[in-house]
Symmetry: C2
Subunit: 195 residues, 2 copies
Amino acid sequence: MAERLQSDRSTAILRGAAKLFARKGVRSTTVREIADESGVLSGTLYHYFPSKEAIVDEIVTRYLDALLSRYHRALAPAADPRARLHGLVVASLECAKVFPHATQIYQNELGYLRQRPGYERIKAAVYDVQQAWIDVIEDGRAHGVFRDDVPPRMFYRLIRDAVWLSVRWYRPDGSYPIDQFARDTTSVFLQGIGR
Amino acid sequence: MAERLQSDRSTAILRGAAKLFARKGVRSTTVREIADESGVLSGTLYHYFPSKEAIVDEIVTRYLDALLSRYHRALAPAADPRARLHGLVVASLECAKVFPHATQIYQNELGYLRQRPGYERIKAAVYDVQQAWIDVIEDGRAHGVFRDDVPPRMFYRLIRDAVWLSVRWYRPDGSYPIDQFARDTTSVFLQGIGR
DNA sequence: GTCTATATTTCGATAGAC
DNA sequence: GTCTATCGAAATATAGAC
């Protein structure tokens, strides 16, 4: 049997914590609840993580790494700004499907994380995510395929919020599969930004 | 000098609490912090409100009342679905300008409020807000001015999230005034949903 | 490596003087 | 009506047995 890179306990704790953080918020979730959800007792948590905050940081950091990795894969092959924008939407939604809880934590608790020591560690990743969108939008304007009467940052924020917040209500199922959802989202925004 | 309908202390507490709730979340805000922000000491809070939760309820209830009032004024005169959709966007953004903190609390903490006793009081108002958007969108489809290849609830959620979350980053100023912002938002979504 | 038991801190809320 | 002082509950984190 192959060795695991990470102990099962550690990942179980991260999973359980992410589920609760997403549902109730970081501050409203107690370490005892995390322990219950993970199948251990509260003291055991501190064998794997130095604090509750360290668990949040680990969840968000892993999520951002996965997101940026998908962005790079999605952006490389496509040259057309419209295809690249679609690629970012699909990559974000696929990442939200794999990490639904981390996605929700990221967009719900970013303001809270920002004013805490240790935010520097994830600050760069947050910036890179934003810049990926801005680059595509400005490129589309430069090539004349996106309208230029709306500020790029404005459009970025509109589509970002719409895509990110979908984790609050969208649940993939047979009647409305994720690829259809991604097509609809891109369709509305591409038509909205197009000229 | 005219009598005030509400004591200055009470409104000061509501203002201070809303500011902190919006920035840090309800659960992360302590009653002592609310007292500091409001210029009183913690014991005094309980002369005006029975609990911290009661303060949240009051903030959200007042906000929803103001929002629905604006919706009714905005929807009455316009018959065209496009004009009515624009009216909802403008009404929401104007309300967000007057009550920026309450707007943020509403969209950040609704999940938290939902699972608390006393949610029944605001449940109806939340439903009315949603229904106002759905009605306009379905009306636009029926009249053939909105595209019919995207589910109405899907479109409602896209535009709702984009409009509501603007309070996280949009601050009205001279270089990008609120009416321009409202026109841009409506423009993108109307072009996105149009056919 | 996991648990039991508990130390320590912080929070919401209350009591009572003024 | 406001403040001082504090209670009791709940939370994070630690100590130490096994």
